[in-house]
């Protein structure tokens, strides 16, 4: 066929990411369901804790990240369910698309989806829990970005592993939740500092933990993903 030639890893990532975002856009009902699920989780925390606004405000960061984590299980599972239908993941492998590019595109797509979800949840959290963003939206955006990336990289690898299992819906959170604890803790603490202020200058160390976590798991995913999806 005319003009066919191997393309670079980055270009492959671009093609696959564009394809994934197009599929997300064409199946907006799925995205809407995810948003409502995350919103309902935030709302349920406020019902469970009761009308004590001080408790809600103090723990708002934790509630936000739990809502994002629960929603991420649905999003991550869905990202590989799409590739199971008609064995399209095999189609990509045999095209051939570099397995590392498949990992990067999926992980970036999942991270973008979670960031979008985070951006939608923040105003709801502010309204529901009565919190104010003390340190500015830039710090909040940085926290959400680092936290979502930290969920996305190991989540993408485990989602690919779980997608071939019979009990995939149970297996993914079972594998992901214990591993994600350091990142979840760092993201929740950083969010609390962004909301309530950081008089002791602790935010930098939590960012450091998130950046380190991201470097390790994006690196491991990049290196190990070919072994995960090949026979």
């Amino acid at each position: 066929m005319r003009g066919a030639r191997p393309i670079s890893l980055l270009k492959t990532v671009g093609v696959l990411l564009a394809k994934d975002l197009l599929i997300e856009w064409r199946t907006r009902a799925r995205l809407n369901a995810l948003i409502f699920f995350a919103l309902a989780t935030l709302l349920l925390f406020s019902f469970a804790v009761g009308p004590d606004t001080k408790v809600l405000a103090r723990n708002a960061g934790g509630y936000l990240w739990l809502a994002l984590l629960f929603a991420s299980v649905l999003a991550l599972g869905e990202s590989f369910r799409v590739e199971q239908e008609n064995l399209t993941l095999d189609g990509l492998r045999l095209a051939p698309a570099d397995a590392r590019a498949i990992f990067l595109s999926k992980a970036m797509g999942n991270a973008l989806l979670l960031m979008l979800l985070g951006a939608l949840l923040i105003p709801v959290m502010v309204a529901l829990y009565g919190v104010t963003v003390t340190m500015g939206l830039g710090s909040f955006a940085a926290t959400v970005t680092l936290g979502c990336m930290a969920i996305s990289a190991p989540g993408t690898v485990y989602s690919a592993i779980a997608s071939n299992a019979r009990a995939r819906d149970v297996l993914l959170p079972l594998l992901l939740f214990p591993l994600i604890i350091p990142a979840l803790l760092a993201a929740a603490k950083a969010t609390s500092l962004v909301l309530q202020g950081d008089p002791m200058n602790q935010l930098g160390s939590w960012y450091g933990l998130l950046i380190g976590f991201n470097l390790i798991y994006w690196g491991l995913g990049f290196l190990l993903f070919p072994r995960v999806i090949e026979d």
Binding site: M1, R2, G3, A4, R5, P6, I7, K11, T12, V15, L16, K19, L22, I23, R26, T27, V82, E85, N86, L87, T88, D90, G91, L92, R93, L94, A95, P96, A97, E230, D231
Partner: protein
């Protein structure tokens, strides 16, 4: 003067076995298909035809033995083999939520083609799906999916085309069109490996035959 070495076989199986759990899908299979010849794979359901095609396509790795395509090992030189081989499988490799055109454009971009949209359009004309090019695959019948899957295979312009039940789900016109496409592939020098239950049609298209029974080659 050095003698010119013979070209490597299009497909070579060296004592190939494949096991799923406790069941052996293929057992100690050896075979060689010279370049320029086409192979008909026959056998009952579960005899190992699909497994063999997936091994050659590098979708699977053998449990024992070695598979080579044009001299390249299907495990250690996987990426080279993947560029030379295309598989028409039971699964269509198509995204249900994308249109026929978008499905082909994604592949064309992955293959690094110059004008992905144009190439996709030309192939949709070839397989007779122009009128439905902007419909999502989810709305396609089984026969239309098969046509689109063939367009996907043709886009790769493979040296070896692996066709697993290509006539399945096609109407008589579709079968005729598929036969024409297979003949064109052969005429352009592509090695065709065809697995089908329609033995007469297969025999008319292929020079060689390999009959499988419980994962072993037997006399047809």
């Amino acid at each position: 003067m050095e003698a010119r070495s013979a070209p490597p076989p299009a497909l070579a199986l060296h004592d190939v076995s494949k096991r799923y759990g406790r069941r052996w899908a293929l057992a100690r299979l050896s075979y060689s298909l010279p370049q320029g010849r086409s192979l008909l794979l026959t056998g009952h359901n579960g005899s190992g035809k699909t497994t063999l095609l997936r091994l050659v396509a590098t979708a699977l790795s053998p449990t024992h033995g070695r598979v080579e395509v044009r001299g390249n090992d299907c495990v250690t030189q996987r990426d080279v083999v993947r560029r030379e081989v295309a598989l028409l499988s039971h699964a269509s490799f198509l995204y249900e939520d994308l249109t026929a055109h978008q499905n082909l454009v994604v592949l064309a971009r992955l293959l690094g083609m110059d004008a992905p949209a144009d190439v996709a359009g030309e192939l949709l004309v070839k397989v007779g799906l122009t009128k439905r090019s902007d419909s999502p695959v989810r709305q396609f019948s089984a026969g239309m999916r098969k046509r689109l899957a063939i367009a996907r295979l043709l886009m790769k312009a493979p040296a070896v085309a692996l066709l697993d039940e290509p006539f399945g789900e096609l109407d008589p016109a579709g079968i005729e069109a598929m036969e024409k496409i297979i003949r064109e592939l052969k005429d352009s020098g592509v090695t065709v490996v065809l697995a089908t239950h329609l033995i007469e049609q297969g025999m008319a298209l292929c020079e060689e035959r390999l009959h499988l029974q419980e994962g072993r080659a037997v006399a047809a």
